[in-house]
């Protein structure tokens, strides 16, 4: 997948491009709107990640010119201004998605994936990874031919980890994302939840157990093992 990143902050561009690389995607960096248009003239891209505030030519001007030329490449907007007016203006200008800074790289990757799925008309309600199938509507998870319906929190946790394979998540990060709490309750709620997911997806009668790629790194966090 070819992705154009138009972002003036070199350091942000560095880790995003590196992230793309680990996912096997090809990322091209342009530091402003003009060089972005130049890159677009050289090769086709599957998606554009566009920072809103840029030197020389800002995101809005860039979009106007790009859309005016009749192109429909999906655009994800990155911005530090997380208000609704800005969001609405972006959608009016023809962006497909929106991500406020500071963002997680995993979330950006997930959104790019969702956009490309939308383009290829794939079913986004199903998340398939390392042999595990997660239905986002019914919250049903299938592993080794064995299905179980997850609770809301179990589902959120599994989805969170699965969307960023290889990424380690700390307990606090998980608590914040899954339970929405900002503090450490000093309990093992995350471990318990992980344990429950593992238990639910382990066939009681199965002779040869294939380990679920849900890893616990003691003292560090949790990770969905990447293949």
């Amino acid at each position: 997948m070819n992705i154009l990143l138009i972002e003036d902050e070199q350091k942000i561009a560095d880790f995003v491009l590196e992230g793309f690389e680990t996912l096997g995607w090809h990322g091209v960096h342009a530091p402003d709107g003009v060089s972005g248009l130049e890159s677009l003239a050289q090769m086709p891209f599957d998606a554009i990640v566009l920072d809103w505030m840029l030197p020389v030519m800002d995101g809005m001007d860039f979009l106007q010119i790009w859309r005016h030329q009749g192109h429909h490449t999906p655009v994800i907007m990155l911005t530090a201004k997380a208000n609704i007016e800005c969001k609405l203006l972006g959608f009016e200008m023809g962006i497909q998605d929106y991500l406020p800074k500071p963002f997680h790289f995993e979330e950006l990757a997930a959104r790019i994936r969702a956009l490309s799925h939308r383009r290829t008309a794939q079913d986004t309600s199903l998340l398939r990874l390392n042999g595990l199938e997660l239905n986002r509507v019914s919250r049903k998870a299938t592993w080794q031919g064995f299905s179980a319906v997850l609770s809301q929190r179990e589902f959120l946790l599994l989805e969170y980890l699965m969307l960023s394979p290889g990424q380690i998540f700390t307990r606090k990060k998980i608590l914040r994302h899954v339970w929405g709490i900002d503090f450490d309750p000093q309990t093992n709620v995350v471990d318990v939840c992980i344990m429950r997911v593992r238990k639910k997806l382990t066939h009681p009668g199965a002779a040869s157990k294939v380990e679920l790629p849900l890893q616990t790194l003691r003292g560090v966090g949790y990770r969905w093992a990447s293949t």
């Binding site: 902050e9 380690i168 900002d182 560090v220």
Partner: protein, 470 residues
């Protein structure tokens, strides 16, 4: 005197005081005028009872010695002519009829001027004592003539008393009318003065609460209010400028922090993944990453607060099954705080129109607080109640902290009850403040109460139908 702290009561007291002065001052003179007329009528009657009556033209000067001599002559004459009535000892059976005593000598006549006996300028009483009996000599102006009368003292006193009674009666009859008119006047003046003021204060309130950008036009108001309105407008301008500056500062600061935080977060995640599993560096980096997340969370809250301050918290309203959410919260609490007994009761079908993300943040923040500031073996109880207009959610929990008198302080930004406690459990001191702003943006209110035995009650009141979006 709290009562006197209102314009209405002050006006009323002023008018009552004025009326009293009127009654007992001006009215006394007025009543005096009337009583003089009554007096004359009375004297007209008394004349028939007078022992002696002499009419002198006003033009002629009164010769006092001559008058006295005339009086003495009169008494002597009455004695000579035996006009004396029956002497019935000291008791006068018929006070209307004057006594006449036989005079044994004229040298014991005694004149006593009694000043102040009669307030009337034109009448003059002279108290005359003769052989232990008292007479009143009255000199009265009437129709261009002096009437000189000699009356039995008691009869004179009675007439006078009657006159005063009539005068006092007139005063007391007037009193209710005067008080009533004072009340009416006070009410009228207060209304006239206060109505424009009330309208003005309503308008000011409206501006302060809902339309901070608006200003009042001084031209339409009373002249006296012009300077007040101008001062208020100037104050609003200044407030708005400093408010905008403060709000823009935190908003700008938060924005400026976004980029470095994005870089930190992204590069840290990479570094954690690249460090070998269970490596010291990885463990240290994850703990740094937690702090970065905390920093991001604070920045996000600051940004939200600055939006709320500017009245630009954006809401996308949708129906939210509040009862289900509360039940979910109770389940959550049971999972991440199993040491606390959590329960809820209330209407199972409450729907609230709110912004999904903000509502979620509000509820989880409140739950977080109830968990954080709970006590060993404690509990959390949710009560959800729906009325015609609003939904009320109460969260009760016991606490170890002494919160008496802290009900408002806890909503202040960055207020920390116990810094050590906070450091242990996390938190930024912005949660409650943000909760209150979210409630406000939805037209509701968040308050805190302390019940006996250190039980905290968080009371969230939300309107069922969102009337306006802020």
């Amino acid at each position: 005197m709290r009562v006197l702290r209102s314009v209405g009561s002050r006006t009323f007291v002023f008018f009552i005081a004025c009326s009293l002065v009127f009654i007992f001052g001006i009215n006394r003179m007025w009543a005096g005028y009337f009583s003089q007329r009554i007096h004359q009528t009375l004297w007209d009657q008394e004349i028939t009872q007078a022992l002696w009556l002499e009419v002198v033209d006003l033009a002629d000067p009164i010769d006092m010695p001559q008058l006295q001599r005339s009086l003495l002559k009169r008494i002597a004459y009455s004695q000579v002519a035996d006009l004396r009535l029956d002497r019935q000892d000291e008791v006068n059976e018929n006070p209307a009829k004057p006594f006449i005593w036989g005079a044994t000598g004229t040298d014991s006549l005694e004149w006593v001027e009694q000043a102040g006996l009669n307030p009337m300028a034109k009448a003059r009483h002279v108290h005359w004592s003769f052989e232990g009996h008292h007479w009143t000599w009255v000199s009265l102006h009437h129709r261009q003539q002096h009437y000189q009368m000699l009356l039995d003292h008691r009869v004179a006193q009675q007439s006078l008393a009657r006159m005063w009674a009539v005068r006092d009666q007139t005063i007391w009859y007037q009193l209710p009318t005067v008080v009533l008119s004072a009340v009416l006047l006070a009410w009228l003046v207060t209304r006239l003065m206060l109505n424009p003021m009330q309208r003005l204060s309503q308008r000011l309130n409206q501006i302060v609460r809902l339309q901070p950008q608006e200003r009042i036009d001084a031209k339409g108001s009373l002249k006296e209010f012009e300077s007040l309105i101008n001062a208020f407008n100037a104050l609003l301008d200044r407030l708005q400028i400093s408010y905008q500056q403060a709000s823009r500062f935190s908003s700008d600061a938060a924005h400026e922090l976004q980029t470095p935080l994005t870089i930190l977060r992204g590069q840290l995640a990479q570094a954690i993944n690249q460090a070998g599993d269970y490596h010291d560096v990885q463990i240290r980096l994850t703990s740094i990453s937690d702090e970065v997340e905390r920093l991001i969370s604070i920045t996000e809250k600051l940004l939200q607060l600055s939006l709320a301050d500017a009245g630009r918290m954006s809401l996308v309203l949708e129906p939210i099954p509040l009862s289900d959410w509360v039940a979910e919260l109770v389940d959550d609490a049971a999972s991440f705080a199993p040491h606390l007994k959590t329960s809820w009761q209330g209407d199972p079908h409450v729907i609230w129109h709110a912004d999904r993300n903000l509502a979620r943040q509000l509820l989880t923040n409140l739950l977080s607080n109830a968990v954080k500031y709970n006590q060993v073996g404690g509990w959390i109880r949710f009560y959800l109640k729906q009325t015609d207009q609003d939904v009320e959610l109460e969260i009760h929990n016991p606490t170890e902290a002494d919160l008496q008198g802290m009900e408002e302080k806890l909503f202040e930004r960055f207020y920390r009850l116990d810094p050590h406690h906070n450091r242990k459990t996390g938190g930024s001191g912005l949660g409650l403040s943000l909760c209150r702003e979210i409630a406000k943006a939805h037209g509701g209110a968040l308050t805190m109460g302390i019940k006996p035995q250190k039980n905290v009650v968080m009371r969230l009141r939300l309107p069922l139908q969102q009337s306006h979006t802020v």
